[in-house]
Assembly symmetry: C2
Amino acid sequence: MKVEELLITEAPQNVNLLNGKLGGENVRESIKKLRDLRGIFEDENTRDLMDEDTVVYKVRVHASVESGVEGGLLFGTTYLMPGKVGNEYFLTQGHFHKIGNRAEYYWGIEGDGVLVLMNRNRVCKTEKVQKGSLHYIPANTAHRVVNTGNTILSFGACWPSDAGYDYEEIKQNGFSVRVVEIDGAPAVVSML
Amino acid sequence: MKVEELLITEAPQNVNLLNGKLGGENVRESIKKLRDLRGIFEDENTRDLMDEDTVVYKVRVHASVESGVEGGLLFGTTYLMPGKVGNEYFLTQGHFHKIGNRAEYYWGIEGDGVLVLMNRNRVCKTEKVQKGSLHYIPANTAHRVVNTGNTILSFGACWPSDAGYDYEEIKQNGFSVRVVEIDGAPAVVSML
C-alpha cells in the first residue's frame, strides 16, 4: 500500500496578501507611461506637455499560462501611481474584453480609488476601491481604475487567460464619465 | 460637457485580506461534514465510528453569477478544520472540473496544509499551503487540500463559473497519494 513517501514541496509562487507583491516563478511586468496614454485623458494638451516618461502604472502578472489559452486564468497586481493630468486623476487605460462575456475579479489592496464600469450602452457605475473592497466585473463591461488618493493604489485581479483586450473601443469612444478633482475632492462627471 | 456629477458608491462586496472573510452581497455558504465524506478517507471504518456531524470544511463563495455561466468567475474562501480520520488528515473532497480545461487559483491565507494535484495519468504533486502561497491549478488537474496543522487552514480561490465539479471520478478512484501523519509529522504516501 505505502510504497513510497513523496516530498512536500514549496508552492512555486507566492503573493503577499497585505501588499499584493508577487514572487516566485513566471512573474511578468508591464509598464504604462504617459507616452502610452495619448488620447486617454480629457486634457491631451496638458498630457503632451508633461514628462512622457512618467510611469502611470505597473502591472505584475503571475502568468502560468499564455494569453489566449481557453480555460486558463491569470493573476496580477496593478500599482497605479498618484497624479493628475489637469484635474483628471491618473487612471488605467481601461478596456472591454475581446471575448465579451469574460468576467474579472478585482480586489483593493492599498490606497484609495474608483473603479469605473461601463456597459455596452455606455451606462457607467462606479465603486470605491480600497483595502479589502471586492469587485465583480461582469460580462460585456469595460473597466478602468482611477487613483483618487495621494499614495499608490494597488489592487489584485484574476481573469480568464483568453479574455483578451479590446483597447480600441475605449481609445475611440472613451468612457462616458471621467473622475476629476473638484474643490479638492474626487467627483465623477458625465461626458454625455 | 459636464452635465452632472455622479455618486461614488461603496463596493457591494468586500474581503478581509488577512483572514479571507467575505462580506456584502451574494455570499453563499456550503458545509461538508464527516457524513458527506463517506468513502473519501482510507480508513472508512474509523470515519463511520466518528461523530458524523463533525464539520470538516466550510466554503463561502461570492456568487455574483450562477454556476454554469460561461465566462463568469466565482471567488471564495474555504475553511478546512484541523483533525484526522485515523492517521489521515482532514481534507477537501477534491475534484477534476467538469469542463476539463478550466483552471483555478488558490492562495493560502491562514494555517498549514498541502495542496495535492493529480493529472489524468494519476501522477500527483504536492505544494505547501501557507499564508501567501499562490497555487495555479492547471487544466485537467484534480485538486484537494489537506490540513496538516492544528489550526483552521483557510485559503482563497478564484475559478470559472462554468468549470463544474466531477466528484464521481475521485469518489471511485481517489487520488493516488494520501497525506498522513507518520511519527508526528505529515508525509505524502503513494497508494499505487
